[in-house]
Every structure is written in structure tokens, then in C-alpha cells.
């Protein structure tokens, strides 16, 4: 029903969405697709009290490159503002390994801990209590959607606009369909908590925008089973419902498996994902891959926003409220995917100076 | 004593579709040695295992021990409480474990349930073994002991159980069951066993003795019970039957005519052989294992027996020649071709036309899960290949022919070899090697545990193969057998060949004399275990 020459041109409306609404949706996508600008989320403060302290930075798994780089970058930032003994904690992922990291922080006399990429503090409740007792400030970075209540187990957190990524994705899918009703497939990995909110958002958005005309099917595949099951499951879903035209992914690591299933099924369905991880965006630059959009944050930006939050609580400043502490996302589409190139991967570098300006009294570089 | 030691009534056992025992009745009196005889696969061991509680018999059977009715099926592990002690076929030892662990593994009372004091147990075990004249380190792993020592350990273990049962309960009645214990024992150790049996019987206990070695049975047993196809065909007193009658009872009237008592078939002596050096098998200065420099020649078509006491090195020769164990020096010439003995490997040996039939058939000679046909044709599979395709049908047909020729029962060669009885399995092994028409056949105890009829068949087949020029080296601790089959017997002592028994001199007695004489002359203390029971 849809084709490429339709997209971008404002023409007559589809059968369920009025032309006005369609233009609005198009505007939403376009806005999200622009390079984000840095906006301070809190007042400037002095980092002088932090001099000589040290933090430990632990990624959700060292086997995820983006998170691993981000955790290492948090350490570098900390060192640059006067915490030279800060360290990175390498681990294989999973609560048992995180427990070891927390132990090391507690035993090693660290002052702050950065949990990178949303290690769920509730899955480490005893360690969080112990850290608090030891006077360690724990900040979790990119933990949950901004709409979620803040965790009371940790000093502060930064969040992400997971649900908004799905709102924009739904808008993009409807724009792609030119306002005609479509069926959608949502693939989640429910052991990863933001999945649940994202699934709900996709359902809500379709209900809001196209009522009963659009159907949303869901499948849940654990992350560890992507390689063995995902392609087959998507193929089956497409056999079961050949009208599916948009596949939403709660995690863009699913992309290679979903894209291969779409190609094999020879449908026109396209993918819309949360993530904006480099490999997925790189795939998007290949026009043969049926990808419609991928929205997510920049790891270096998250490293700065997370470090900012951590420095605030360590310096005794009030934390930025969880609902407001996040690094902005960018929507990548086949049109702008080629902008995601080094060094900034399509996010500019306005945030670096922006954050540095907030940290007063930092030692000279 | 008015009771009997043991009574079995109407014992039957079916395995799947196979009827192993049908309504067996048997009685053992106090203080007697009862021989249980029968062909391979007639159900002797099955009966023993019913007694041990390993197999549940079919309903309807009765067991009476010392006048007391024992409900069947008997739970596993309770037979020893009734004074039934066993040496099972193949000894029933856990080979990866130490001797001591094997002694303790029995469900035994008396020992502490919660604290084995190993130091004390080691001393106790050593003492116990010594009291039976068995000088084996209790800490040794059974695997690493020579088969005789393993047998002695198993026998001592059973005897000790019996003794402890009697001490503990004060009972005079108890039964020692020995299932083919002599196959692992060289002649001189058999007397140790018989002394032990006599001691046991003198104390009022009874013995059930199972063996295919009829002269031994004649020597020790008081009465006999014969099974055929799972049925009792005779109970008799030993003194009431002649040797020929026993054979007839075992194999059936028809088959008996071609089987002589003991070891059927006689070797034609005084045949002429081509003794040109290098024409057959020539061995010079073979060193390895116990051998310190064996010289030996076997002419084409000749059967040379190799005799020696345990530890003389004779039993190493076939394995060293075949490359199954590594030799350190020596020279082997087969039909003029010299083989590098220190680098000898089975694969090279096969290429050179050597064939080995090892003593441990179950472990070394047949793949139990694989079909008879495949086992038989393994060495010649390549010849059944036509245009790249293995012609399995032709292969099976050939195997069927061979099975026919050797009277392998059952004839169906598609069954796994593991289902065949010992004698039949050995025929398959023989067929497998004869298929490549070897230049030299090396045999080590080829008729161990093989019944009297199958044994005669095997002798016949080997003899026939020599007519085409095959040389045979036959190592056996059974001197009757060597006397029957050999054209020449070479006596080994101290690792070298010391004398030869030839021509019409070849009698069991002559071989025995030569072997013991040689041992005395070289002054070797070949026997690692003392020969007499002291308890």
C-alpha cells in the first residue's frame, strides 16, 4: 500500500488518519531526526569537593561495546575533573558479576559508583544497602523511561526516553503507510524492563491514532535466544499475518535477525527500533535493508549526562529529578543514517562543552 | 544334619523373548562340592545370579536355604545374610577401584557405617589376604594387577565372607558359589583353589563349582548337575558317570560323538615342515614386557605351542609381536619380510599378515553392539566395494557362508555379536582373522570359557587353516590343550626359550615337567602368590 515516493510529500490523507494529523506526525518525525542540541538540565556547581575522591564504573556487560565504552568514558571524565584513582570494572554481565563489582567498590573505599546501561538496582538490593551504609553514592545511568518513578535504592539516576522512541517510531510507520491502517509486530525482550513500557506505548499510539483499524501483535524473545529463535519467530509471525507492515523492536540488537526474516518473507514491512547503536545504523545505510527508523541516544552523551548526575550527588548538590535527567535521542532514518559517522556519530559535540561549563572549579586539563 | 544346604525348585527366568532357565530344580547337600555343567549359554550364570538376587526369577519358584524357605524374589544384597557367597563369572571386581575398596564394597555388616578408618582397614585387608596366601597390596588398583591376582582376590573375598558369616551367625551351613574361577588361574594356582575348596567343605559348608574344564571338575566335584538350554538334564554322583557320559550329557547325544573328553581332536604329529629360515615366522632376541630375548621359529603350516609359568614372559609374546604392547628390541621376520619390532603397531602387523586373538575377548576382540557380519568382515570391508559403494548385501551373504562353515549359532549374522555366547563369539573372532588368510596366527588362551563342543570346533578350524601354510603361535596355560594342538611346544622361562618338546613326546605331563624343570633351573620365583590356603 505504501511506497517510497509517497513519503515526505504531503498529499491527501490515508483512510484512517486525516491529512492534518499526518502532517503533525511527519513533523514529529522530522523534529526527532534533527541533530539534538544541548540544554542544561540543572544549574552549574563546583566539582572542587570531588578532588581526590574516586569512582568505580561498571557496565551492564563488558561484552556490549557501547556500554563498555561508555563505562570507560565515565572513568575518563572523572579523572579529568580531579579523580585520578577512578577505575573501570570489567565484567561478563549478570547479577553475580555485578555483585563482585559492588563488593570491590565497597571494599576498595570508593566514593561513587556508576552503574552503566541500566543495571537494575532492585536486582542488587543487598549491595545497594551495603553501599549506602558505606557512604558510597550510586548513580545508575540510562536506567528506565523518564515516566517511571525513581528508584529509592540509589542516590540518583539518569533515564532515557524509551517510550518516546516508540511514539516517534509509530509516527514514522504511519507516515510511511501514508495514513493507511497497518498491522504491526512488536518484538520485546521482557527480561529487559523498558521493553514493557515500549510495548504499551506502541499499542497505545496505534489505538490513539488509528483506533481498531490497526492491529498490534507481540512476541517476546529473550536476548539470549536472538540467534537461535528470532528469525524463525518473525517469519512465522509474517506467515500468520502477511499484512504486517511495521516491525517494532525494543532493542536494535535484534536488527540483523529481523531484517533477514523480512527479506526472506518478501514483504514490504520495515523495522522501527529503539537503540541507535552503530551497527544497526550502519545497516540502515544499505538501501536493500528494509529499515524504517531507529531512535536512541549517543553513548558519549549519556556518559556526560550520567557523570554530571554522579558529580552532583557526590558534591552534595541536589540531583536532577529522574524525569528530567536524560541524554536526548535522535531518530535515524534511511535519509539521515549516513550522518552517523565518527567522531560524533550524528549527535554533534555541543554537549561536551555544555557539561564542562556546568562543572565549576575543575582542575585545568 | 537332616536339612540340605540349598534347594532350588522350579526356577525359571525369561529375558525379553529368551528363556534362559526353565523349571530348574537343584539340591546342594551340606559339605559337598556340586559341579554345575553345561554348554555356553545354557543358563549356569543366570542361575547363579538368581541366587545372588541380581535377577528376579519368574513367579512360582522356591528357594530353601538350610531348611528355611526364602521368599523369592530375594532383594539385592540379602544373599550374603543367608551365607551365600559368590565368585561371579569374570570375577565381579570393580576394576578401576583399589583392592581394598573392592573388599569394602560389599554390603557387609559389622563395619562402621559412619567412619571407615582407612589405616586400620588397609592393615586388616592385608592380613586377611595374607591369611589366604594372597600377597597383594590392598592399595593396588585392580586394573593394574595381573589376572591371576585379580582372581585370587575375588576368591579370597568370597572365602572371607563365608568365614565371617559363619563366625557371626555360628551357622555351619553356607554355600560358596564359584562361576568359572579357573579360567584365570594357571595350573599351579588351581591347586590353591582346590585346597581352599577342600578346607571350606571340611568345615561343613558347600560349594557350587562351575567350569568347562572337565578334568578339574572330575578332580574336585562330588556330584554334578547338568543344564542344557535352561533345563536340568541330569543329576548324578561323580562316581556314577564316565567322562564320555558327562560330555554326552552336556552337548546332547548326537553332538557328543565328534567330541572327545577333555580337549577333542588330536594333532597329527610328525608332519614335515619347510624349515628354511624366513619361510614362516622368525623371532630373534625379542625384548619387552617379561621377555628378555626370545628366539623362536614357526614354519609355515606349523602350530607351535608356547608354554611357561606365569611371569615367564610367554603370555607377552603375542602382544609384543603384534605391536599391541611395545617391544624394546628384537627382530621379526614374516615370510622373508623383516619388521621393525620397536616401531611395531597393530596396523603394520596386519599389513604384514599377522593376526592376534587376544585372551580378553570381550574387551579386545569383539564390538558387542555391532553385528556379527560387520565384526567378521571388518578387515576385508574394502573388498566389498564396487564403484565406491559398499555392497552390504554381498558382505552379509559372505558372512552367512562363514557362519555356516564354522557352525556359528545362531546363523543370523545381522544380530549384534554381544548376544552370542562365548564360544560362538570366539568363532566369529576366528572367522574375522581367517578372512585375511594371515601368514601367522597368534593366539592367547583362545578357548578360555569356551564349552567343550565349541572348543573342538575351534581346534578343527585352526588346524584346517594351517593346511594352507599359516603358521600358528599358540600361548596357553592349559597344557592339555597345547598337547592336543601343537606340532611342537616351546617352553619359556626367565624371558627366553629354554627347551622344546617335540613329536610324540608331546603329552601334558611332558610339558608340565619341562615347564617346572625350567623354572627350577632358572631359579625364578615365578609365582607371586603363595600356593596354599592357610585358613
Amino acid at each position: 500500500s505504501s511506497s517510497e515516493e509517497d513519503s515526505g510529500s504531503s498529499g491527501e490523507a490515508g483512510t484512517v488518519i486525516s491529512a492534518d494529523v499526518l502532517d503533525e506526525l511527519r513533523a514529529v518525525v522530522e523534529e526527532a531526526a534533527a541533530v539534538p542540541e544541548f540544554e542544561p538540565q540543572g544549574p552549574a556547581f563546583s566539582v572542587a569537593p570531588l578532588a581526590g575522591q574516586k569512582i568505580l564504573s561498571m557496565p551492564v556487560s563488558s561484552q556490549l561495546k557501547g556500554c563498555d565504552d561508555m563505562a570507560r568514558q565515565v572513568v575518563d571524565i572523572a579523572k579529568s575533573i580531579g579523580m585520578p584513582d577512578s577505575t573501570y570494572f570489567q565484567n561478563d554481565g549478570g547479577p553475580a558479576a555485578w555483585v563482585q563489582g559492588m563488593n570491590q567498590a565497597i571494599n576498595g573505599g570508593y566514593d561513587g559508583v556508576a552503574l552503566v546501561c541500566g543495571i537494575d538496582p532492585a536486582s542488587l538490593a543487598p549491595q545497594m544497602a551495603a553501599a549506602e551504609a558505606a557512604g558510597i553514592e550510586v548513580v545508575d545511568m540510562h536506567l528506565a523511561d523518564v515516566s517511571e518513578p525513581a528508584s529509592d535504592l540509589i542516590a540518583a539516576q539518569t533515564n532515557g526516553e524509551f517510550n518516546r522512541a516508540m511514539e516517534v517510531s509509530v509516527a514514522a510507520a504511519l507516515v510511511e503507510a501514508n495514513g493507511n491502517p497497518i498491522d504491526a509486530l512488536m518484538i520485546t525482550s521482557n527480561e529487559n524492563p523498558p521493553s514493557i513500557g515500549m510495548e504499551q506505548t506502541v499499542k497505545d499510539e496505534f489505538a490513539r491514532l488509528c483506533g481498531d483499524e490497526c492491529g498490534v501483535e507481540t512476541i517476546n524473545i529473550p536476548i539470549t535466544e536472538y540467534a537461535t529463535k528470532l528469525s524463525g519467530a518473525v517469519s512465522s509471525a509474517l506467515v500468520a499475518n502477511p499484512d504486517i507492515e511495521a516491525v517494532f523492536m525494543a532493542f536494535d540488537a535484534q536488527t540483523p535477525f529481523v531484517v533477514s526474516a523480512l527479506k526472506a518473507s518478501r514483504t514490504d514491512a520495515k523495522t522501527y527500533a529503539f537503540g541507535a547503536d552503530e551497527p544497526a545504523i550502519e545497516m540502515m545505510t544499505d538501501p536493500s535493508n528494509p529499515m524504517g527508523g531507529d531512535m536512541g541516544p549517543s553513548f558519549p552523551w549519556m556518559a556526560y549526562s550520567g557523570a554530571d548526575q554522579l558529580f552532583r550527588v557526590m558534591a552534595g548538590e541536589p540531583a536532577i529529578p529522574a524525569a528530567e535527567a536524560f541524554a536526548p535521542y535522535r531518530m535515524f532514518t534511511p535519509e539521515n543514517a549516513d550522518e552517523a559517522t565518527p567522531p560524533d556519530y550524528g549527535f554533534g559535540d555541543s554537549y561536551v562543552q555544555g557539561y564542562r561549563d556546568l562543572w565549576l572549579d575543575a582542575p585545568p586539563a | 544334619m537332616s536339612t540340605t544346604a540349598l534347594e532350588l525348585h522350579n526356577i525359571s527366568k525369561v529375558f525379553g523373548g529368551t528363556r534362559a532357565l526353565s523349571g530348574v530344580d537343584m539340591t546342594v547337600q551340606h559339605g559337598e562340592v556340586l559341579a554345575l555343567l553345561g554348554e555356553n549359554g545354557c543358563g549356569k550364570s543366570t542361575l547363579v545370579k538368581v541366587l545372588a538376587g541380581v535377577h528376579e526369577p519368574e513367579p512360582g519358584g522356591r528357594l530353601v536355604v538350610d531348611g528355611t524357605e526364602v521368599p523369592l524374589p530375594m532383594p539385592l544384597g540379602t544373599s550374603s545374610d543367608l551365607g551365600l557367597c559368590f565368585v561371579h563369572q569374570d570375577l565381579g571386581l570393580a576394576r578401576p577401584l583399589t583392592v581394598l575398596e573392592n573388599l569394602l564394597g560389599f554390603a557387609q555388616e559389622g563395619a562402621s557405617r559412619w567412619n571407615i578408618r582407612w589405616g586400620r582397614e588397609v592393615r586388616k585387608a592385608r592380613e586377611m589376604l595374607r591369611s589366604y596366601g594372597v600377597l597383594v597390596d590392598p592399595m593396588a588398583v585392580v586394573n593394574q594387577l595381573p589376572p591371576v591376582d585379580q582372581a585370587l582376590v575375588a576368591i579370597a573375598r568370597a572365602a572371607e565372607q563365608l568365614k565371617q558369616h559363619r563366625e557371626r551367625t555360628g551357622a555351619t551351613s553356607s554355600v560358596l558359589v564359584l562361576d568359572e574361577p579357573t579360567v584365570f588361574l594357571p595350573e599351579e594356582e588351581v591347586s590353591f583353589l582346590f585346597d581352599l575348596i577342600r578346607t571350606v567343605v571340611a568345615g561343613g559348608s558347600s560349594v557350587i563349582f562351575i567350569s568347562h574344564d572337565l578334568p578339574a571338575v572330575r578332580e574336585i566335584a562330588d556330584r554334578l548337575t547338568v543344564l542344557r538350554d535352561g533345563r536340568v538334564v541330569a543329576h548324578a554322583s561323580m562316581s556314577d558317570v564316565t567322562d564320555d557320559e558327562i560330555v554326552e550329557l552336556i552337548v546332547g547325544a548326537g553332538a557328543a560323538t565328534k567330541t572327545a573328553f577333555g580337549h577333542g581332536g588330536g594333532a597329527p604329529t610328525d608332519r614335515a615342515f619347510d624349515r628354511t629360515p624366513g619361510a614362516g615366522l622368525d623371532v630373534r632376541g625379542l625384548v619387552g614386557g617379561r621377555l628378555t630375548g626370545l628366539d623362536l621359529a614357526v614354519a609355515p603350516g606349523e602350530v607351535v605351542g608356547l608354554a611357561g609359568l606365569l611371569g615367564s614372559g610367554a603370555e607377552d609374546a603375542p602382544y609384543l609381536l603384534f605391536g599391541a604392547r611395545s617391544a624394546t628390541a628384537g627382530e621379526i621376520t614374516v615370510h622373508g619380510r623383516t619388521l621393525p619390532v620397536d616401531r611395531q603397531q597393530p596396523a603394520l602387523a596386519v599389513d604384514a599378515g599377522l593376526a592376534l586373538i587376544p585372551a580378553d575377548r570381550r574387551r579386545d576382540a569383539i564390538a558387542p553392539g555391532v553385528s556379527v557380519a560387520e565384526n567378521m568382515m571388518l578387515l576385508v570391508v574394502a573388498t566389498f566395494r564396487r564403484r565406491g559403494v559398499l555392497q552390504t548385501r554381498r558382505m552379509r551373504a559372505t558372512a552367512d557362508q562363514r557362519a555356516d562353515a564354522l557352525d556359528v549359532r545362531p546363523r543370523r549374522t545381522s544380530v549384534p555379536v554381544g548376544t552370542l555366547s562365548g564360544g560362538n563369539a570366539q568363532k566369529v573372532v576366528l572367522a574375522k582373522w581367517l578372512e585375511i588368510s594371515p601368514k601367522v596366527l597368534l593366539l592367547h588362551e583362545p578357548t578360555q570359557g569356551v564349552d567343550v563342543a565349541a572348543r573342538a570346533e575351534i581346534y578343527r578350524v585352526i588346524r584346517r587353516a594351517t593346511e594352507t601354510g599359516m603358521s600358528v603361535l599358540w600361548v596357553s596355560s592349559d597344557f592339555d590343550e597345547l598337547a592336543t594342538v601343537s606340532d611342537r611346544v616351546v617352553v619359556v622361562s626367565g624371558g627366553t626359550a629354554v627347551s622344546t618338546v617335540e613329536g610324540s613326546d608331546i603329552t601334558p605331563e611332558a610339558i608340565t615337567t619341562a615347564v617346572y624343570g625350567a623354572a627350577r633351573a632358572t631359579g625364578e620365583s615365578t609365582i607371586t602368590t603363595a600356593g596354599a590356603a592357610t585358613s
Binding site: I219, A227, G232, A264 | P368, G369, T392, V415, N424
Partner: protein, 337 residues
Amino acid sequence: MSTTDVAERRGAEGAPGESGTPPTTKTRGSWAEKAALPLAWVVLFAVFAALNPDRFLSMGNISNILGSQSILFMLALAALLPSMVGDIDLSLGSIGGLSAILVAVLNVQQGVPIGLACLLAIGAGALCGAANALFVVRFRTEPFIMTLGTGTFFGGLIFWIANSTTIVGVSGTLSEWTYVRVIAGIPIQFYYCLLVMLLIWYVSTYTPLGVRALFVGQSRDVAALSGIKSDRIRWGAFVLAGVIAALGGILYVGTTGSAGPSSVGAFLLPAYAAIFLGATSIQPGRFNALGTGVAVLFLATGVAGLQLLGAQDYAQQLFYGGALVAAVTLSRYLRRT
């Protein structure tokens, strides 16, 4: 690692002595036992077809069943070889992963043409297999623990080479030749697997080498004393398994157009499930190629059928586990009666 234990062997034993009465069970496993799994497959197929005729019998679904499990199929065939000769190789998942990442890195980052990259990956697979053989066969160690160790080591190499990230953008030619082209509606890679399966089946059934390998697998001592060079055959099995696992890795890259640090490894246990399940069928009691193929398709059919019915992920796992348990128990039961 033999599939028969003592008790089973005893049970299977027919009867000497009783040569007069024909045994009730035929040679290795009755007809019912040999055919149990294929029949179960047919029944499963029929049930799903009845529940959902339009979709289940659609070409798209058939193609999905046959094509989507090619990586598992290939890895199971790799696992089959060492198992047939009495070994076990737990490093094959890592070898497949290593091959996948090598193809991706060589092609994308080093600009090596895709054909050459695949050849190099196959070479690496052979090398890994040879390393396994060296340790297990030459140094005479226990294959279970040894290949667990080498597998972990190869896994480390993958992360090192991949730098913990997913590499995308592999030449489309590879996808073209594995996943995109179809014959009779089924991706071409399915036929590759079929080819390898038939090759293994042919060699193991219709060549002297196959008979020798059978003896090595079932009674290694006997093989040695029959002049069979067991070590050489075991080396061959490990090296070839490495090569086939590498092919599995290449199929992975072809299917997904990418390779990540944890890719093919996840297929290892399902692959072993398939070969053990296959050993209950066609030639019961022996690891065999046709049985493996049937097992892969049986499991793929069940999973695809449940997915079509919209079953939850856990239902698929319950099916998978339940099917294994039921199939093995049933085949055991059939052997007994």
C-alpha cells in the same frame, strides 16, 4: 558418550542357546523403534496442519521450517562426527562463531573478497578442529572437559577479534548464495545441509571408512587391535567437525548479514539435542546422519507450528523439552518390548 548403557545393552541382547526360537526383536531396534521419530514428525505435522491448514501448509511456512534452522542443522552435523567415533566436541559453537566473525572482519574491515574470506574461515575451523584433536587424541585427555576449555578459549578469541561488537555490512553476495536464492521456494542453504548430511550418511554406511569409524566409536580397543588407525580417524572427525562448524558460521553470516561476539554458540546444546534425538531413530543406538536430519526437522516443525499458533516463548521451550523427553523415553520403551 555411548548412547547405550550397560542395562540397555543387556536388554537388547538376544539369545544364544535359543537359536531355535526366533528372537522377537530384530537386530538393532525394531521397525517401530527406527520409524518412531519420523512418524512422530508426520503426526506433529498433521496436527499443526489440521489446526491451521491455510497458514501451516503455506509455502512461506514450509520454507521457514526447512530454511530457518539451517545453522542448527549444520552445527548438528558437525557435532555428529566426533560423536560417531566416541568423542564429544563442545567447542563447535565457538568454532562456528569464530568463523562467522572472521568472515565479517576480513570482508568488512580488511576488504578481503567474500569468497576468500569464507575460505580463510573454513581454514580457521579446520585449525581449531586440529587443536582439539591434538589435545584430545594426541595427548589422550577427556574430550568433554578439554573441548569445554578450548571452546571457552575460542570464545575469548571471538571477543578479541570482534572487539565485543557486532560487525555489519558483509557483502550481499554471501547472502545471495546462502539465504536469498531459493530452490523450490526453500533457501539454498537448506540444500547445503542436506548435501553434507547425505555425504556423512553415505560415507558412514557405504564405505569401508564408515565401518572402521563405527568400530572406533563403539569399541575403540577392538578397533586398535584390528589394525585400524583409530587416532587418524578421530583426528579426521575433529578436523572435519571444525570445518562443518565453520560452514555453519558462514551460513550465520549469510543469513544475518552480520556477525556478533555471541552468535553461533547458542546453537550448541540444541545441536546436541538433535544428534542424541537422532540416535533414537533410523539406526537406533548409533549416532547417525539421517536420524539427525529428521530430529532437526521434527524440532523445527514443532517450534514453527507453535509460533504460528501464537504460543508464548515458554510454550515453545516446554514443547522442546517435552518432545525430547517423550521421544527418548518412547524409543527406549519400544526397544524393550
